[in-house]
Amino acid sequence: MLLALFTISCETVVQIDLPETESLLTVNCLFQQDSAFFFTLSASKGILESGELEQLNDGQIKISASDGTEETISTTSFDSLTFREGYISTMKAKPGVTYTVTASRAGYESVTATAVIPEPQPVSSIDTTSVIIARERENHVLVSLKDPSGIANYYEVKMKLLLYYPVGTDSFPYVLDIPIYPVAADGVFGNSSDLLFSDELFDGQEYAVRVAYSPDWVEGDTAQIVEQLPSYLIAELRSVSEDYFKFQQSYNTFQFSAGDPFAQPVQVYNNVEGGYGIVAGYSIARDTIPFK
């Protein structure tokens, strides 16, 4: 307290200016195979500029694929899944095809990004196990995959639960995201709390990645349904591009450290030339096992 008094009594505050920064286009699109592209276009602001970021719905997005197909999107539509307005393609993304995206809008320099979806890598098997670590029970899921050799591959693993809710005599399928976290003993995750990993430690080999879930994640009625009715565990293995991997890792770190005044600054990966944002793709392979 005395230090604070001493410091405050000496502290003088001066407002200083930053050099003005040019407003640049921001284009974002995280896309998956066999799905349409959903782009958002907005304008960046200087850090000292006030107000919300401006969504630009009067721009143009041009997609040029390495297989020769092209599409230009000039109008936005409402996406009922994300409840957002954006530029939605009719073209569907394919693995192995390189897409060059050019975004433009009057008053701004055009920006470009190049992205490709890696080929999906199938889930070889799923297994569940229960282990005691530091006197605590942990529920683990092992997701096996066969990694292609010779190239750098990046993955993300997610877990879902498929339930069939009884309604009268019928039942309706319902999918829940299961909160999972990396198992520290599995070196592929390093120190990260993300579910992203690279094949650096198992290039070209069969590998069973290990994640854990809390036994308390299902509660109340859902817990009873899981107990009483058929339910299934869906392991989703995403083969993600390097751009996706770098962006997601840095963005997760950025979000995690937000608000900590002692945290080191985080530079979020960005692959849009001449502007900001991320255009990156992934493919998904799934496998399902009964869940108890």
Partner: protein, 811 residues
């Protein structure tokens, strides 16, 4: 207990002895056998009044100017052919002494220098110590303690480390703090030695004051490059601080009363001319002065409490001259910083029941260093020093919460304690020899070992709440034990009249767990005399560092962690080349111009997003590894004596870092990359009663990372997620730093004592220097009544003009 285990288990010790000492012994025999008709004059040079040994005094033959200098214990050895000589002894601030000797055999002469010269009358007439152009060593600066004591300082607290910040090649960290960044190195790359014992955290009050009490200091030496082989373990600098030994002849004391702290130093003989002591203490007392006010404030709020902060230092040293050839020293330093807060409140739960709740919190950190040293003059040419040391740095933060009811009810009983502790504990032993076979060779060799215990953060949590089960848990990193061992040999030798070289090798290793890192570090320095006053110099030094400081702040927070090299964390390495000119002008002014290039590998930094509050991960997982390099030029003009003394220093430098995991692998400027750094220090004696001092510093602003723009994240939607774009790391420059400090000392001599009033001001023109920057959100309503958030970049400046007054005395 420690030594037997060390000897029994470590093969490397035998390797060191075989690998180093046998060739050295052979080499010495060869040198020693040359010129069998030579004889040696040896002994100690001391201040005739106090008996204090004089470090770096010159002893030379007046006719040929062949000579030597005293080592850190005041020992000299001069070997000359048989004959008659006029031998001179000189040391800055003392009258030159000359005597004639007819050298027919080995002779021991204790040289007692006359009383200190009156600076008013003092004029340099001959080489007082080895002039800068004559020394082999480059990138080395002796800072006279008398100058440090005159330099104006923050709140009047004279400070060794802040004086060193005024030297070229040395950058300060943040405003007011005592961190040192030498030639692009980090704050952990400085080997700060107090009587030969490493000091790990050399600062009080978050770096605003250093732990060194100038009243107890005899000498201060800074080495920035061209490191002699007897130093090792850090990459960027050596700061060798030697304490006074204590007056062997008379009892004396000095003291001062300042705004922040008061000091008292006492010294005197225990057995006249045989044993002496010095003890020096310093303590801040704002906590004592403010205690009644703070207690009163608590009482006004109906509670009972106390809070405060203090630091203290205690230095002590005893030396005993067993014989003319044997001497033993025991020195110790003890210092602590302590924040405390205790608060108790009682309230009624019902008409029948009262609850009393207490909250206590504390933050404490401090150093202990102790050294037991034994000197022996084995023969006229060989001097030995055996040292055993213990040092400890620890940091502790704790909090307690307790409550109870009256009458007692277990349901309201609560007892919670949290304690976090980190630190480093060292035991060490070393054996050093100085061998001076002739005026053309000065050989040093030795070996040693430091046994480290690292405690990189342990948390203890105890809780007993109501009727629930008590919790008693300890978690965090486990202690790490390590041996850091070394051996070295170096020779400072002359080739003809113009060339002098220092060649050496430092062998070092670090053993922890199954790891055993080893390195052979060559060291070389050379000078070539172009004429009597001008020389050209060059040096090469390779260093390795096995311990690292994990820090994410620039102000020397006690939370900084000292951590060892491990499987994952490799030792840091550096290689530095330097070249320059050294010139003495009119025998009064020393001028040096040096250029350097330094590379550093295996440096550590926190990963992006990591911070002190990042929990659940070990320190090894929070760091990343990379390289650094620094290059630049330094100009230094110094005048050590006379009515007007001081220096002007200018540094032009570039410092970069490159980490695979930072800045997308691209090189970026180091936070303390400072293109221009200027310091001017002047002390001016007006007359015997008044002296004046001023310092002015200028430095390019620190490089920091600031967001420059914001843009939408892919999930930007209802939640408005935005990404801050930082541009390139450390791409924003804070405003330049500059500051003027002024001070005046008014002396008055009484019959048996002398007093001094010191007045001055830190930051005399009240420059608003940047301390840190932050963004502030302001919430306003626009003309339509809608909420609008605006952001401002705010620079916080810590110290405006800060005047001081200090009263000091000596008797």
């Amino acid at each position: 207990m420690y030594l037997p285990i060390f000897f029994r288990n470590r093969l490397y010790l035998l390797m060191m002895i075989k690998g180093l000492l046998i060739p050295v012994a052979f080499f010495l025999l060869m040198i020693g056998s040359v010129g069998a008709q030579n004889y040696t004059i040896s002994g100690f040079v001391e201040d005739g009044t106090s008996g204090e040994k004089l470090i770096g005094a010159n002893v030379y033959d007046v006719a040929t100017l062949k000579g030597t200098t005293t080592n850190v214990y005041g020992f000299y050895s001069l070997t000359l052919p048989a004959g008659e000589y006029t031998i001179a002894t000189s040391f800055v601030g003392f009258e030159k002494r000359e005597f004639t000797v007819d050298l027919k055999g080995d002779t021991t002469i204790a040289m007692k220098m006359g009383g200190s010269l009156d600076l008013k009358e003092f004029e340099i007439t001959a080489s007082q110590t080895e002039n800068i152009q004559e020394q082999t060593q480059m990138s080395r600066i002796d800072v006279p303690v008398t100058t440090i004591q005159k330099i104006p300082a923050l709140l009047g607290e004279r400070d060794v480390l802040k004086a060193l910040q005024l030297l070229p090649g040395v950058q300060s960290g943040s405003e007011g703090t005592s961190g040192l960044y030498v030639r692009g190195g980090g704050p952990d790359q400085n080997l700060i030695l107090l009587d030969g014992v490493p000091v790990y955290n050399a600062s009080h009050l978050f770096g605003f004051f250093s732990v060194f009490n100038t009243d107890a200091i005899n000498s201060v030496e800074l080495i920035k490059g061209g490191f002699p082989a007897h130093y090792g373990g850090r990459l960027s600098s050596v700061i060798d601080i030697r304490m006074k030994e204590g007056n062997l002849n008379e009892f004396h004391g000095t003291g001062s009363v300042g705004i922040v702290a008061s000091k008292l130093t006492l010294e005197g003989p225990i057995i006249k001319d045989k044993a002496s002591f010095i003890i020096s203490g310093r303590r801040t007392y704002i906590d004592l002065l403010a205690r009644p006010i703070i207690k009163n404030q608590f009482k006004k709020q109906g509670t009972d409490g106390v809070a405060g902060y203090y630091f203290y230092d205690l230095n002590g040293k005893v030396n005993y001259k067993i014989t003319d050839k044997d001497r033993v020293y025991l020195s110790a330093y003890l210092g602590d910083d302590n924040f405390y807060f205790d608060f108790t409140e009682t309230y009624s739960l019902s008409e029948e029941q009262d609850i009393t709740q207490g909250l206590g919190a504390g933050l404490r950190w401090g150093n202990i260093t102790t050294a037991l040293r034994y000197n022996r003059v084995i023969n006229q040419k060989l001097f030995m020093n055996l040292t055993g040391t213990y040092s400890r740095y620890n940091f502790n933060v704790g909090q307690t919460i307790n409550s109870f009811s009256e009458p007692a009810d277990p349901a309201y009983a609560e007892d919670i304690a949290f304690n976090y502790e980190s630190g480093i504990f060292d035991w060490s032993g070393r054996l050093d020899f100085d061998y001076i076979p002739s005026p053309n060779h000065y050989i040093k060799f030795g070996l040693g070992d430091i046994y480290h215990t690292f405690v990189p953060g342990i948390t203890v949590f105890d809780a007993s709440i109501g009727n629930s089960d008590p919790i008693d848990t300890t978690f965090g990193a486990t202690p790490v034990y390590a041996h850091e061992y070394f051996a070295y040999v170096e020779d400072d030798f002359k080739i003809g009249a113009r060339i002098k070289m220092n060649l050496g090798v430092h062998f070092a290793g670090f053993k922890t767990g199954s790891n055993n890192y080893m390195s052979v570090q060559p060291r070389a320095s050379a000078r070539y005399l172009l004429n009597e006053f001008l020389s050209v110099k060059a040096s090469y030094a390779q260093m390795q560092q096995y311990i690292h400081l994990l820090t994410n702040a620039s102000i020397g927070l006690p939370t900084d962690l000292w951590v060892p090299s491990t499987d994952i964390v490799k030792p840091e390495d550096s290689r530095q080349v330097a070249a320059g000119l050294a010139y003495t002008f009119k025998n009064k002014y020393e001028i040096s111009l040096e250029g350097y290039y330094k590379t550093m590998t295996n440096l550590i930094e926190y990963k992006e997003g990591a911070g002190f509050f990042t929990t659940g991960t070990s320190w090894e997982d929070q760091i990343t590894f990379g390289d650094g390099w620094s290059y630049g030029a330094e100009l230094f003009l110094q005048k050590k004596v006379g009515k007007t003394a001081g220096w002007i220093g200018y540094t032009l430098s570039w410092t970069q870092r490159q980490f695979e995991d930072l800045n997308f692998g691209e090189a970026f400027p180091y936070r303390y990359d400072r293109r221009h750094d200027i310091s001017i220090v002047i002390t001016q004696e007006i007359n015997k009663q008044i002296d004046f001092a001023a310092t002015w510093v200028y430095g390019t602003g620190n490089a920091v990372s600031l967001p420059i723009s914001r843009y939408a994240a892919p999930d930007n939607g209802f939640f408005g997620n935005e990404i801050y774009n930082y541009g390139s790391r450390n791409s924003f420059r804070m405003a330049a730093y500059h500051r003027l400090d002024v001070g005046v000392n008014l002396h008055k001599e009484r019959k048996h004592w002398e007093r001094t009033w010191s007045f001055g001001a830190y930051n005399a023109y009240s420059r608003k220097n940047p301390f840190f920057l932050y963004f502030q959100d302001n919430f306003n309503l626009d003309e339509n009544g809608n909420a609008v958030t605006t952001k401002e970049l705010i620079q916080v400046s810590l110290f405006p003009i800060v005047p001081y007054v200090t009263y000091s005395f000596k008797f």
